[in-house]
Symmetry: C2
Subunit: 374 residues, 2 copies
């Protein structure tokens, strides 16, 4: 399957004064992405609740909220705890949590500090919520499977689960989807339509059966940028703050929209003309780029200054980059910028990001929720 | 390509009292792996220098050294700094470092605290070493490409590089290989032979040309366990302390040798008999298991209690596990143990591991060198 053609800037990147490998964020590009996305959804009348698992950074969450986001989406209780500690007042844990005594106690504490909504996708999990979170004020949304076939129930199962919630006293008043199957070239628009249909059909069915559905939440970055009409009242894209090589190859963004790079140094160089071994090795591997690589991707990331180069292999601390025969190999010791395939993984691999403006480091931000898996 | 048959223990695993997802290490299995490997190489007269990038834990390094390891292998200067701070006296940074003023200063400081050896694979990098590390006492080994085609030079290039080192006064007195292409079913023995040949041929050629070669270092876990004869004076396996699903499917270990598991909870369950959707979702995804998946692997990890189950997909916080039609799906809320595909990535994703003995948590260890990429 052909990936979208990518137009590259011809401008060279001056070296950035960092110890490599380093994760650097261009604050002007970041701010532009935040502002533009906020404006797009304000104009459409859809509430924006960005997924903070992408960045895990308090300073970025604050910029999203300042630009008009209604709150944050997170994936885990510990992510919610980090952002609530930093003063965020409204979080949706868009995940079908299974409550035991330990994490239920944490959720009740969390709900004392901010508005909390959680996900559910079974009557068994609803029963746990009924017994553990009674009186906590935590609201609940049902996850729907819009075709991704991960968690979530089919639309036909929704009325039964809402009925069970009514019987057990759980504040189930919303539905949400994650259309992860939009991550393939040519798919985003069709998947956005499928998601809109599932949300619309389910909401209508539930309302017809007498249930209140006040929270209709959807979205991913690839579907969000399609502009497909949706009955969603809220959208939860995450990657749009930085974008990454997957989004570039899916056509969700241009090269100028990419706000985050991994800066690396050429440590090994093998220029054997005419062989398949015209390669360099940089000191950025899977422990900083992350090793996600969908089958349709051209490699393990992209090089903005070398569009025809391919990151063919990653070890933990080695990135192998193959060049076409007619392109000179970068020199040993040269600094290169790489766009990771999946930026959410990159952000989870380092403790801090370097903040740059006009290629100068102006500060650094802590990745406060790094490693918050539980 | 068929993967090696895996024999599984039929014994059920009792739940471990941890917040999931958690990384747990069985200290008895760990100790057995450390002791057995140390004994194997002692008997062969080969020095063992375990690669600490696998575990990044001071307490595990101390056990390896107590069992007779001559020092540690690491991949980065920052890993070396962590272990030197903890009292480790001898480290080999088995990596073709490119020295700038910043990391050269760190290396000189490091060499004030412990014995340091570094890797090189070009005359350009040798020139940097000559100018930056003169008088530091740091010794250098040349990386050879034994067929993995990542970093490292071909044997025929070695004499020229040794001659350049002699001219520039660099203490180049060793060679090393990393036979990463052994990571495929049926390959380890053949690759171990190829590595032995490259090390032997190069060492002979260098000695014939009058160069001293006192350090001949090879190895990876899959090749190390083959027992193939090698001229290596030193071996650098890493994963053998824990093993993982890759090693299990390569036949490097049995299920009883696996010391590390990711403990997860079933959060979503879809039991649609007769469809291809008999699946569960656990709360362990790529942010704890890591997303390495070689083409020959059966999935993104293995379940010791469910050998026919397949981890078909990972999102950041979701692991999708498909079961065969005739096997009951685990219940919602059940605790499952997963063996990650590549344990080095898992260790880099959490701050601490839970130490268990007889399925009871007896403590936890800090992953002191987590995130040490530079």
């Amino acid at each position: 399957m052909p990936t979208t053609d990518v137009t590259y800037s011809a401008q060279p990147s001056p070296p950035i004064d960092v110890s490599t490998p380093a994760v650097v964020v261009d604050v002007d590009v970041l701010e532009r992405n935040i502002t533009r996305t906020a404006q797009t959804f304000r104009e459409r009348g859809v509430e924006l609740r960005p997924h903070a698992k992408t960045h895990k950074v308090v300073e970025i969450a604050q910029r999203q909220l300042a630009a008009g986001a209604v709150g944050l989406t997170v994936a885990t209780i510990s992510e919610a705890e980090v952002f609530a500690d930093a003063g965020v007042e409204d979080v949706f844990i868009a995940y079908p949590l299974w409550l035991d005594a330990r994490n239920a106690a944490r959720l009740r504490t969390l709900a004392g500090h901010c508005t909390v909504r959680i996900g559910v996708d079974s009557t068994a999990a609803l029963d746990r919520i009924a017994s553990e979170l009674h009186g906590s004020g935590i609201r609940v949304s049902l996850e729907l499977d819009a075709g991704h076939h991960r968690s979530g129930v089919l639309p036909a199962e929704a009325p039964g689960i809402f009925a069970h919630a009514r019987r057990t006293g759980v504040a189930l008043d919303g539905v949400f989807t994650f259309p992860g199957h939009s991550y393939a070239p040519g798919r985003p628009a069709a998947v956005a339509e499928q998601e809109a249909e599932v949300l619309g059909e389910t909401t209508a069915m539930l309302r017809e059966a007498g249930f209140m559905v006040s929270h209709v939440s959807g979205g991913s970055t690839p579907t969000a940028v399609t502009g497909v009409d949706s009955p969603a009242t809220e959208i939860r894209p995450g990657v749009y703050v930085f974008f990454d090589a997957q989004q570039l190859e899916l056509g969700s963004c241009t090269i100028e929209d990419v706000a985050l790079h991994v800066v690396a140094t050429v440590v090994s160089r093998h220029d054997r003309a005419g062989s398949d071994e015209r390669r360099i090795v940089v000191n950025a591997g899977s422990k900083v780029l992350g090793s996600d690589r969908p089958a349709w991707a051209t490699g393990f990331g992209r090089l903005p200054q070398h569009p025809r180069a391919r990151v063919t292999a990653l070890s933990e601390h080695h990135g192998t980059i193959v060049f076409p025969d007619d392109e000179p190999l970068p020199q040993l010791g040269a600094q290169l910028r790489l766009i990771p395939n999946h930026v959410c993984l990159t952000m989870n691999l380092v403790d801090r990001i370097q903040v740059v403006q006009d290629d100068q480091v102006i500060g650094s931000w802590e990745i406060a929720a790094r490693g918050c898996n539980d």
